[in-house]
């Protein structure tokens, strides 16, 4: 798009790039926010069905599909309250910190080959690091609310999320090690082909570590049974007790954004990314790397694949939430320190040894030969934040 603006429209370089960046940012922001609304609606529907009721049925017609929008309007119209003793600036700032952290991480998240806001050679690192910032918003909210319940929620969140970052990091390192790259596009690319190429089925260690990742991911985005920061039966509403209206909805959006993010990350790292279980496109002789219509179509198909996997992850999180009771804070910490961390460490070690001993896997015939992997994934000349190739710039405008 930037090339188009420079060459055809004749804008100066800086303006063209700024406009491109803004369009891409707006797309990411709105698509993810829209996605969050869909997930909020889905959660209500799923919770309803799980609980033998219908969920929303009236707003917007048949399935109550406008419910989230109606909720949004309600939240906009609500009085924006701030407790007297609250630290005004931090209180106002906190929701945006959470929201920005959750949504910023999507910049580096590829939805299909080259459908990525900003391809980075440290993509995994970026996503995990930025997602980790979300906790600051929660802590700020709890601290600034001048409410004891909020403070409890914030302290729990701080303890929990910081602890779970450790095993989460270890789980993420395994696919990074297998792919030999921190670039999410590369990691997903390496899993192209049949189902057996997915890192989930790479070796027994990755299979186990995937479940550790799922546990840690659920814990790090504060979903049940690890939703201690907002445990409504103990802490009223935890860190967002004192929030109302739009500020509260920012926390909500951040939560759903993060849920989708960790699910997408699971799909990219372990479940083949945008590659389906059967390589339909390559069986048909199509390649996603080409700039023509066929390549574009294959990429769209890949995007649907990834969104499907990520959505499935989100749905499973919802299912868990509406089924299980909540753990206690000491049990949550114990799960992390006594189970997740040692298991993740052992599996990391195991996967490493496996790589050394059996680099081709147990049945080498099942694995795709290394030479088939496109070389384009190598870090570009731009260094750490390599710019995407020319055709990637064109598809940036359809980036979700």
């Amino acid at each position: 798009m930037a090339e188009f603006l420079i060459n055809t429209v004749g804008l100066p370089d800086w303006l063209a790039w700024t406009v491109t960046a803004m369009v891409a940012a707006a797309l990411i922001l709105n698509v993810i926010a829209g996605g969050a609304l869909v997930f909020i609606w889905a959660e209500r529907k799923i919770a309803g069905r799980i609980q033998d009721r219908l969920g929303p049925t009236r707003t917007g017609g048949k399935f109550g599909w406008l419910q989230s929008l109606a909720d949004g309007i309600k939240l906009l119209a609500k009085e924006d309250l701030m407790p007297d003793g609250a630290d005004g600036m931090l209180f106002r700032l906190a929701p945006y910190v959470s929201f920005c952290a959750s949504f910023c991480a999507f910049i580096a998240l590829p939805f299909a080959f080259d459908f990525v806001g900003q391809r980075m050679n440290v993509g995994v690192f970026f996503v995990i690091a930025v997602l980790g910032l979300e906790v600051f918003g929660v802590i700020l909210a709890g601290y600034a609310s001048a409410s004891k319940w909020s403070l409890f929620g914030a302290m729990r969140e701080a303890a929990q999320v910081v602890s779970y970052e450790v095993p989460l990091g270890m789980c993420v390192v395994v696919p990074v090690m297998l792919a030999g790259s921190m670039d999410l596009v590369t990691i997903a690319e390496k899993q192209a082909g049949w189902l057996t190429n997915w890192y989930l089925f790479h070796d027994p260690f990755t299979f186990v570590i995937f479940w550790v990742y799922v546990t840690c991911a659920v814990a790090s985005v504060n979903r049940a049974p690890f939703d201690l920061a907002e445990a409504e039966s103990e802490l009223v509403a935890g860190f967002h007790t004192e929030y109302s209206g739009l500020r509260w909805s920012y926390f909500f959006m951040a939560e759903y954004g993060s849920m989708f993010l960790v699910s997408a990350l699971a799909a990219l790292l372990f479940l083949g990314g945008w590659n389906g279980p059967v390589p339909v496109a390559s069986l048909l002789g199509l390649s996603e790397g080409t700039g023509d219509t066929a390549g574009y179509f294959v990429r769209l198909l890949g995007m649907a694949n990834l969104l499907g996997k990520a959505t499935l992850g989100v749905l499973i999180m919802m299912w868990i939430r509406w089924t299980l009771p909540r753990l206690r804070i000491d049990q949550v910490m114990m799960t992390c320190l006594k189970y997740c961390t040692p298991i993740a460490a052992a599996m990391f070690l195991g996967a490493m040894l496996w790589q050394v001993a059996l680099p081709g896997g147990l049945v080498p015939a099942l694995r795709r030969p290394a030479g088939e992997i496109r070389e384009g994934w190598l870090p570009g000349p731009g260094g750490a934040f390599a710019l995407p190739s020319a055709d990637a710039g064109k598809v940036a405008k359809v980036n979700p």
Partner: protein
């Protein structure tokens, strides 16, 4: 000692104790079951003291009772334990009947058993579902309410009300069952029976549930007796006492010929151990898990009793009998009677000066005594355990404050 440490500036830097915080849990709090206010003294997540404050729902029911005739006060008993209003009605009706030495018809007796046991199921369902909520799982609550709704439908058909029935009254019941009611009740029991397995899967045997309840809030036998606990809370601690079996003659006569086993752990096992989930290894007699489990067993026990009562009721040929007149005079004297309500032993005391209006009315609430023990149980637990413990006591504020 702590004061001295605080005062001495040389020692204070070695004092690692953090500041204690007083937190108000309630009266507006999601898991305080109404308008209970708990003042927690916490050190971080650890609770050092829990002090229940009550009185937010006080409605002077006892004083009102001294201005109304015995039958006119029945609706006020509805509003005590509003989750088991039938049992409340029965308690008061029996206390008055005890004073008047009145005997209801055989048919009324069986109908009373049928109705109160059905209400016991409804009450335990709420207790179970709300306990799930206290532990952070929402769905069992709705599954419980779904079934309770069917019981309320049955009650509605019998007496026209869904919550405050005033169905059982002094001298009998206000009306007989409508035609076809028994078949509907049987159909309900049929479909309800397998659902109990679901509850066991979602709560009783759920690993997280067991982790949250086993060995939490352990109440010894002695403590339970000292604090005057009753009902499932008492039986959860292994005390074999059930007013339906051990109560006064006028009450136990109601259950004459009924076969039921008190749900209490004896010799290391529950009476229905064979077809029920085994007690988890972590659970200690008297903990939250046992209190919960006793309720689950009582649901099945009550289903049995309902079935027996239906058989006996339909076998009764005679009329149901009319309840006493609103202005029927009571003999001078006093009477006290405790009945086994779902939450525990509910006692009614009345003194009569010979008129139809009692001279003094007093209610002894089981939830009140059961709640009193909370501050013993919550000493040194975590904040998350407070709702778990208070929830396992299954209190109803309407009954505590009256």
């Amino acid at each position: 000692m702590a004061q001295m440490l605080d005062d001495d500036p040389r020692i204070i830097e070695f004092d690692v104790r953090t500041d204690e915080m007083l937190v108000n849990m309630g009266p507006q709090h999601p898991s305080t079951h109404g308008v209970l206010r708990l003042v927690l003294r916490t050190d971080g997540e650890v609770v050092s003291e829990v002090e229940p404050h009550i009185g937010y729902l006080h409605r002077c029911a006892e004083k009102i009772g001294e201005n109304l005739t015995h039958r006119q006060w029945i609706p006020y008993t509805d509003r005590m334990d509003y989750l088991a209003a039938m049992n409340m009605n029965l308690g008061w009706a029996l206390a008055v009947e005890k004073l008047m030495k009145y005997q209801v018809s055989e048919k009324a007796r069986h109908l009373r058993v049928l109705i109160t046991e059905l209400n016991r199921i409804a009450s335990h369902l709420v207790g179970m579902g709300a306990y799930g909520l206290d532990l952070g799982t929402f769905s069992p609550f709705l599954y419980a309410f779904r079934e309770r709704e069917k019981i309320l439908d049955l009650f509605e058909e019998a007496c026209g009300a869904r919550l405050t029935y005033s169905y059982i009254t002094v001298g009998g019941l206000t009306a007989d069952l409508p035609a076809g009611w028994l078949a509907k009740c049987e159909a309900f029991l049929e479909q309800f029976e397998p659902i109990i397995k679901e509850y066991h899967a979602l709560l009783t045997t759920n690993a997280i549930f067991v982790k949250r309840t086993a060995n939490i809030g352990v109440m010894s036998r002695e403590l339970a007796i000292e604090y005057g606990c009753s009902g499932p809370v008492l039986r959860g601690s292994g005390v074999d006492q059930d007013m339906r079996r051990d109560g006064e003659a006028i009450y136990t006569a109601m259950y004459d010929g009924y076969a039921f086993e008190v749900a209490v752990m004896k010799n290391g096992h529950y009476p229905r151990d064979h077809d029920y989930p085994a007690v988890p290894a972590d659970a200690v007699l008297g903990d939250c898990w046992h209190r919960f489990f006793v309720r689950m067993l009582e649901v099945v026990q009550s289903m049995d009793l309902v079935r027996q009562a239906m058989d006996r009721y339909s076998a009764c040929k005679g009329p149901l009998g009319e309840p006493l007149k609103l202005t029927e005079k009571m003999p001078a004297g006093d009477a006290y009677l405790e009945t086994e309500c779902p939450k525990g032993q509910m006692g009614f005391y009345l003194v009569s000066d010979g008129s139809a209006i009692p001279w003094r009315v007093r209610a002894r609430s089981s939830s009140f005594s059961n709640l009193a023990v909370a501050h013993e149980l919550c000493r040194g637990c975590l904040i998350a355990d407070v709702p778990a413990i208070v929830g396992s006591l299954d209190i109803v504020m309407g009954e505590i404050d009256r």
